[in-house]
Amino acid sequence: MTEPVLDVRNLKTYFYTDRGVVKAVDGVSFAVHAGETLGVVGESGCGKSMTALSIMGLVPHPGRIVDGEIRLLGHDLVKLSERELRRWRGRRMAMIFQDPLTTLNPVLRVGTQVTESIRIHYGDDLASSRRGIWEWLEDPLGRRRRHRAWERALEMLEKVGIPAPADRMRAYPHELSGGMRQRIMIAIALSCNPALLLADEPTTALDVTIQAQILELMHRLQQEFGTSILLITHDFGVVSEFCHRVMVMYAGKVVESGPLEAILDRPLHPYTRGLLASIPRLGDRRRKIRPIEGMVPELYDLPAGCSYCTRCPLADEHCAAVEPALRELGPGHQVACHKAEAAVEVGWA
């Protein structure tokens, strides 16, 4: 098998706050292969967004990556300096966020924001073959360079299905609809043809019909560009339509991961089953929607053993005392639960 595009090993991102150390990401390992979509699922606060920000090297203060490796295309991003990392951001890895209204700068025109990353990363390609003073003599105001970036941006807006892209380039974000803004974010993210796209709840803020369109668009572009995608969501519906593999996170740790079909058909972790049971399905009146009881524990004081034991219907003293390790219980299917086998036998999913 070829080397994965992204290979994260034992990633630990901790926040040092007045109230103690918060282990937002605590020893997470996973890989994303070329052209593949990995879904990261969990409730809010489980560390899935922080995992993405760690990959981008944008962990906010007072957090930092304390341990682990993040290998993108064979390079360990953790070891790169901020300067080098900047050349990677937007070019080899890009990220899109949940709310396109707050993610686009309200006071800058769409065109400015789309061309920005193209100009940063493809600055040289946009210019002529001449260098230095000769280039400057040929294009003293950078007009030609700017024009090329503009052309490329237009092309991207067309690709993401924006009608009358030339007009949209001159608009401000608030003048566009939510779906349109999300398309523009995708255009910005893919404008430099990154190897990896991190999508943090890209459809959560949108209407259901628009959601489907955006997922469809991402799917089409993935085929076209061969981008690997890390899709972060709390919605198993989105996952089941779009992902090849799934990773379920709880309290900063991976509790289960595996191929999509395996997870959907044979969920091994009680938490995964809880999540699956809590989605309403159309035309399935027999199944009752079962919300997961209890609250996500405070990340300041996690239980010594399995962090899910406070909410787990199967938990016993062993669970509370000993932390379960990830075990492989099927082809590529891993789970961190002492009761995985027992759960399958009970068969209450």
Binding site: L58, G90, R91, M95, N105, V107, E116, S117, M185
Partner: protein
């Protein structure tokens, strides 16, 4: 903002400006005694008939509304009345003093923005850093400090103790550059008169810093607090995710947004600057409009005071109008 909206906003100014002229007009009629008495106070050999004749000449025998209309008519013609003491048109007096005040005020605004905006931005981006702490304490001192006292302390230190900067006037006598705009810095630059430029700059420094301090303090505080809000927005993270450097993100994406509230607060505080103008010009013997007002008060030259108050108010109103226009330019989400 479309032209129609600007015109609409402009039309809203009219009632305010009319109100301002009414108040300024009434100010004159609160004076103890009337202008004619003030004019001839202490002069021997003026009979009651003479006073009466003057009153008629100045229209002071007419009812108030008529006098107000005449006052407004005069204003529209650019006639601000006669100075009671100097016996020359108030307009000429004011015009001769205006360049000095414009030069001082512009320099004060420039200095305060040049200090306050970078410090405010850095303080917000590097929160709890030395810049932040020094800036915050400095801003607190700046808003709490009476400007006349700050001026005197600067005079004591730079003028007397170290003796490095001049402490009064605009320029040494006889060094004035050829009159083009009346702004010494501009005129000396245009005529290439470097000694005059240097002298004018040295004279300008202390008064401009004194006048600009309180404004710098206020501006720094607003810039800092609005920047603090901006740096936590999603679009800042997204801009960083595009591969922009921290500096590019702060100045291109952050500042544009942070400036929107700053502009409003800064222009509201231009009023503080215009008032402080009188104080600072008095402290530094700066021959501008503020000094003229203070002198005229001592001389009971009410027409000059009246005209100057009017000019300050109109300036303030028009600055606020410009701020509104600027606000909509900076903030595309707002359409008036």
């Amino acid at each position: 903002m479309s032209a129609a909206q600007i015109i609409n906003r402009f039309l809203q100014l009219i009632p305010v400006v009319i109100g301002v002229t009414v108040i300024v007009f009434l100010l004159m009629h609160l004076t103890p005694g009337d202008p004619v008495e003030v004019m001839f106070a202490g002069e021997a050999g003026v009979s009651a008939e003479d006073l009466e004749r003057y009153r008629r000449e100045l229209g002071l025998d007419q009812p108030l509304p008529v006098q107000y209309l005449r006052f407004v008519q005069g204003l529209l013609r650019g006639d601000l009345g006669m100075s009671l003491m100097q016996r020359q048109p108030v307009r000429d007096l004011i015009l001769s003093r205006l360049p000095a005040t414009i030069e001082l005020t512009a320099a004060a605004i420039l200095i305060s923005l040049l200090i306050a905006i970078p410090v405010g931005v850095i303080a917000a981006v590097r929160r709890y850093s030395t810049v932040d702490k020094v800036g915050t304490v400095g801003a607190l001192l700046g808003v709490s400090m009476p400007d006349f006292w700050l001026g005197l302390v600067l005079i004591l230190l730079f003028g007397i103790h170290w003796g490095v900067l001049p402490i009064s006037g605009r320029i040494p006598w006889g060094m004035e550059p050829e009159h083009i705009t009346g702004l010494y810095l501009v005129d000396s630059l245009l005529t290439g008169n470097w000694p005059a430029f240097w002298a004018a700059l040295r004279h300008l420094l202390l008064p401009a810093v004194t006048l600009g301090t309180s404004m710098a303090a206020l501006t720094m505080r607003v810039t800092r607090s609005s920047m603090l809000e901006v740096v936590h927005q999603d679009f800042i993270t997204f801009a960083r995710a595009k591969g922009l450097s921290g500096t590019q993100v702060v100045w291109r994406h952050g500042l544009r947004n942070a400036l929107i509230p700053t502009v409003t607060v800064v222009t509201l505080n231009v009023g503080v600057l215009l008032g402080g103008n009188m104080i600072v010009e008095t402290v530094f013997a700066w021959p501008g409009l503020g000094r003229l007002v203070v002198d005229s008060i001592y001389n009971r030259d009410y027409t000059v005071v009246q005209a100057a108050v009017l000019i300050y108010a109109i300036t303030y109103v028009s600055m606020n109008f410009m701020a509104d226009v600027l606000y909509t330019i900076l903030n595309p989400r707002v359409r008036l």
